[in-house]
């Protein structure tokens, strides 16, 4: 039988605020345990929550970014369950009326575009952490993270492969950083994905029983976890078994998923509107204010690149994969660089260097202005593309801008035809055998002779001129 996998994602993004969602505690990462846990965060008797304005701004930004409905009135609810990292015995979340409603996100999967529907996004507070390795038989509870603002973003079950799920997650990861609501730091847990996976016979329109893979904090793990889970579910069904709804964890060491010992046998969260908080109202004016300070969105920028710079969808998509790259590329083009050339360099040479050194484009030692300066020297034939690579390496190493490096290293292209002819005469004299081969009809020998001439000029001869003079001298 042919099987189809159906995937939906729930992503917890930690919002980039200074203070917690309902208290004035810092959310800075890495503090000593419980030193950023105020009376509200540790749920002392009598304390009350007050909503952080910035968390609401973040939610509005996200709503605008995915073209979603932003609720004029949304409600905070209590999700009741007991767990040591949940100090109040309930999590303040949103249930029936979330702040962000239906929206969508379009992602590039290989050379295909796919639109993933977003069901909702709601504001909620994070829980604390259980730390193992305290006294024997005990766990330690650190509540520094308790109350950190989260936006939980939920999709429809629209993805049909691990690749699609990862493409969506990556796109979302880029987007939340792009609009400045999340730092995207997956190691520190700022962006965590829960993936709902089910399988069904291809062609069926009924959803299978899903299992939820919790807390994936890398795209590689996500890919592996979904692939393993999909295989496991298919094998289970093919062996005549059934799938039980469950929460599973991915073990990166074994590459396997396994069902969690459930927190609560039968989850009955007893949601009800939190009486300590009033309805959250967002007016059209509030939305307009956020809109006014929103950066241009990647989708809009991508279309603009295709239209204004005649770039392919592939190039435009790559250049808008992060705000840093897009800003860098735009800055290069603003300096007068030819867009296609700039695109090739930014996504090719620059990206490769950054990748090699595991750095973000914001850390690039070559500024857009410097890169544009290099392009000018290619365009005016001062240097060849090949020499440009050498100049770029020197720029990367901090040796100055293109002009000074060309000057210092004497890399200026030789275009003086007398000098080129002299070089070629020498090459022809020294390579009589190759000349013979060429005359015998081996075109490859011509290329070898060009190579020799370029080598003799230390790469500085203008390749087009070398070609032309060589052909003339060989009478070809």
């Amino acid at each position: 039988m042919q099987w189809e996998v159906v995937i939906g994602l729930e992503t917890h993004t930690q919002l980039q605020t200074k203070s917690k969602i309902f208290s004035g505690s810092s959310i800075a990462f890495g503090a000593e345990p419980n030193t950023q846990a105020s009376a509200v965060d540790i749920a002392l008797p009598g304390v009350l929550p007050v909503l952080n304005a910035e968390a609401v701004q973040c939610a509005i930004k996200f709503g605008l970014a995915v073209n979603a409905e932003i609720a004029p009135r949304s409600v905070f609810a209590r999700k009741n369950y007991f767990y040591p990292d949940l100090p109040k015995g309930y999590q303040i979340s949103q249930y029936e009326l979330p702040v962000v409603g239906k929206g969508s996100l379009t992602v590039q999967v290989g050379d295909q575009e796919k639109t993933i529907r977003i069901t909702r996004a709601h504001l909620e507070e994070d829980a604390g952490k259980s730390v193992h390795g305290a006294s024997v038989g005990m766990s330690g509870i650190d509540l520094n993270r308790a109350g950190t603002p989260l936006l939980e973003i939920v999709t429809e079950p629209d993805m049909r492969s691990a690749a699609e799920a990862v493409a969506y997650a990556k796109k979302l990861h880029e987007l939340v950083q792009w609009i400045g609501i999340c730092d995207g730091n997956m190691q520190e847990g700022s962006f965590r994905c829960d993936v709902n996976v089910s399988v069904r016979p291809k062609g069926s329109d009924k959803l299978g029983t899903r299992r939820e893979i919790k807390n994936l904090n890398s795209f590689r793990f996500m890919q592996q976890a979904i692939e393993y889970e999909t295989r496991w579910q298919i094998e289970t069904l093919e062996d005549g078994g059934t799938i039980q709804q469950a929460t599973v964890l991915f073990n990166p060491d074994t590459g396997e998923t396994r069902a969690m010992r459930s927190k609560e046998e039968a989850n009955d969260y007893r949601y009800f509107p939190d009486p300590d908080l009033l309805p959250l109202q967002i007016t059209l004016e509030d939305i307009a204010k956020v809109k006014a300070v929103m950066p241009e969105l990647p989708g809009d920028m991508k279309e603009c690149f295709e239209r204004e710079y005649s770039l392919s969808a592939y190039d435009a998509s790559g250049l808008t994969s992060s705000r840093g790259i897009a800003d860098y590329f735009t800055a290069v083009v603003v300096q007068g660089a030819e867009p296609k050339m700039a695109a090739n360099w930014v996504m090719g040479t620059v990206a490769a260097k950054l990748n090699e050194q595991d750095q973000d484009i914001s850390a690039s030692p070559v500024s857009p202005l410097q890169l544009a300066g290099l392009f000018k020297r290619i365009a005016d034939n001062t240097i060849s593309n090949k020499i440009a690579r050498e100049v770029f390496d020197a720029m990367w190493a901090g040796e100055g801008d293109a002009d000074s490096i060309i000057e210092k290293k004497g890399l200026k292209q030789v275009t003086d035809s007398g000098a080129i002819e002299a070089i070629i005469d020498e090459v022809l004299a020294a390579n009589a055998a190759m000349v013979e081969e060429f005359r015998a009809g081996k075109e490859k020998a011509f290329n070898a002779l060009v190579g020799q001439a370029m080598k003799a000029s230390k790469g500085k001869a203008n390749p087009a001129q070398v070609n032309e003079v060589l052909r003339r001298k060989l009478g070809a």
């Binding site: 008797p45 009598g46 007050v50 109040k88 007893r270």
Partner: protein, 487 residues
């Protein structure tokens, strides 16, 4: 001195007839003498109180005193106070020393009042007789065999027995007004949102409201001037300008329209109470009030609605008492789950557990719509009844409680009978309106003279007028200044 009004005490302090230290010592000495029997206080900390008195004396000497500076006030043990044991009447918090100040505590501190001690109360404010307190029952100073009412029973007994100049209480379904009625004092539950709930241990968040309990309406006006005000730490605190609650005192009542809801005088009201309330209303007629009959048709429903909403909110509010960060933790347990279950089973008393269970049940899967949602819908009907009534009258009057103080133990085993004590008070909390009880006379029960309270319900933010309505009556009657014998 112990019978003096807050204004008189203030004047005595200002003119150095007495110092705050002396006044505080006087009350502490009375507490020493009478509290072992009456049990109005859970915690007394003479050292702390006297340190505050000393600071108040310095402030008076420096000429920066405010009206309540130096006056000893008892605080219901529901308010977290920094450095004070704060129990909420529960074994769960028997070891809990407040690590911060509730806003109400802070406001009284800033006003220079002396915190005289923490008063007894029904556990987590759940009760109408003060019998659910882990710290034992409280005696009604008018008849020691009877209950003082609840949940602010300790505060009520302390004021009635003159073991403080005035006290604070909290009212979720009648917890200020009913004990005020049963102990013969004045008690006011303000409009929801006027007094900050920050640091007031939550019972039912959407209904809880703190207010003053004192000998007179004038005293309550002074207390309200201190207690009320916007607090940025409470999302439900209302952003309003500070009011002067004394401003209406002394105005004539001529033309005041008093509504009497016929449902408040129907079955369930004891005849002795009805007689006292009717004579009080006759007094108001003499003061120039115009009496109109009104109807609050959904009064009966306020009890079922309340006993869905309040336990539901409470079940969630009390989840934080899990033995992890503070409060009672069982001495022995097998694992995490067992620690939770044992700590909570040991830490909470029977009535609190019952309400947690009811609340958990009505919120659980499959029952939410039939109970919680339905109750919230009827809550709106109840609020609309009041809105309609206030088009016909300025204030509503009736009994505070259906009877006088009952005997200790009389209703302790019948929760439903106990819940009916709040028949006339609960609807006010559901609507979020201000409600007040003032002494209206005495009923003779089994040869004892027991106080009866008149309830005055006002429209939203109409506390200043209500206080004057009570004050005018207290100018022509002396019920409020009577004191129990043997104290």
């Amino acid at each position: 001195m112990i019978n003096s009004s807050l204004k008189q005490l203030g004047a005595m302090l200002q003119s150095k007839q007495v110092s705050s230290t002396e006044l505080t010592q006087e009350f502490l000495q009375r507490i020493d003498q009478h509290n072992p029997e009456i049990n109005a206080y859970i915690t007394i900390d003479a050292e702390r109180s006297l340190a505050q008195a000393k600071a108040a004396d310095a402030r008076i000497a420096a000429g920066t005193a405010q009206p309540l500076t130096g006056i000893p006030i008892a605080q219901k043990d529901i308010f977290v106070a920094n450095g004070w044991k704060t129990t909420c009447g529960s074994k769960m918090l028997d070891n809990f020393i407040g690590p911060y100040d509730a806003t109400v505590i802070k406001l009284f501190d800033e006003a220079g009042a002396v915190n005289l001690g923490k008063t007894n109360m029904d556990e987590f404010a759940m009760g109408s007789s003060n019998e659910t307190s882990y710290y034992g029952k409280v005696q009604n100073p008018w008849d020691r065999t009877r209950v003082p009412g609840g949940s602010s029973g300790g505060s009520a007994a302390a004021v009635a027995a003159r073991l403080c100049a005035a006290a604070t209480g909290t009212d979720t379904g009648g917890s200020i007004r009913q004990p005020a009625s049963l102990c013969g004092l004045s008690g006011l539950k303000p409009t929801y949102g006027l007094v900050s709930r920050y640091g007031m241990i939550a019972f039912a968040s959407s209904l809880d409201q703190a207010g003053p309990m004192a000998k007179s309406c004038e005293d309550m006006a002074l207390m309200m001037n201190v207690m009320t005000g916007f607090d940025e730490r409470d999302s439900t605190s209302l952003q309003r300008d500070k009011e002067d609650y004394e401003r209406e005192l002394g105005k004539p009542l001529q033309g005041l329209r008093v509504g009497l809801p016929k449902e408040f005088f129907a079955d369930g009201l004891s005849s002795e109470v009805a007689a006292v309330v009717e004579s009080a209303i006759a007094e108001y007629r003499k003061l120039g009030a115009e009496i109109v009959e009104i109807s609050l048709p959904n009064t009966q429903l306020s009890i079922p609605v309340y006993y869905v909403l309040a336990p539901a909110e409470a079940s969630s509010n009390l989840s934080r008492f899990d033995g992890v960060r503070y409060g009672h933790r069982a001495a022995e347990y097998d694992d995490l789950l067992d620690m939770y279950c044992k700590s909570r089973a040991e830490g909470f008393g029977a009535e609190v557990k019952r309400r947690i269970l009811i609340g958990t049940y009505v919120l659980s899967a499959g029952y939410y719509d039939a109970y919680y949602l339905k109750a919230q819908q009827i809550r709106r009907l109840i609020a609309e009844d009041f809105a309609k009534a206030f088009t016909q009258c300025d204030v509503i009057m009736g009994p505070t409680a259906p009877g006088t103080a009952f005997r200790s133990g009389e209703k302790a085993n019948d929760p439903v009978a106990m819940y009916l004590e709040d028949l006339y008070t609960i609807a006010v909390n559901l609507a979020g309106l201000p409600g007040m009880s003032i002494p209206a006379g005495f009923a003779s029960v089994d040869g004892k003279q027991l106080p009866v309270g008149l309830q005055v319900i006002g429209n939203y933010f109409d506390e200043a007028r209500m206080l004057n309505v009570g004050h005018a009556y207290q100018q022509v009657t002396d019920w409020h200044s009577r004191m129990p014998e043997g104290l």
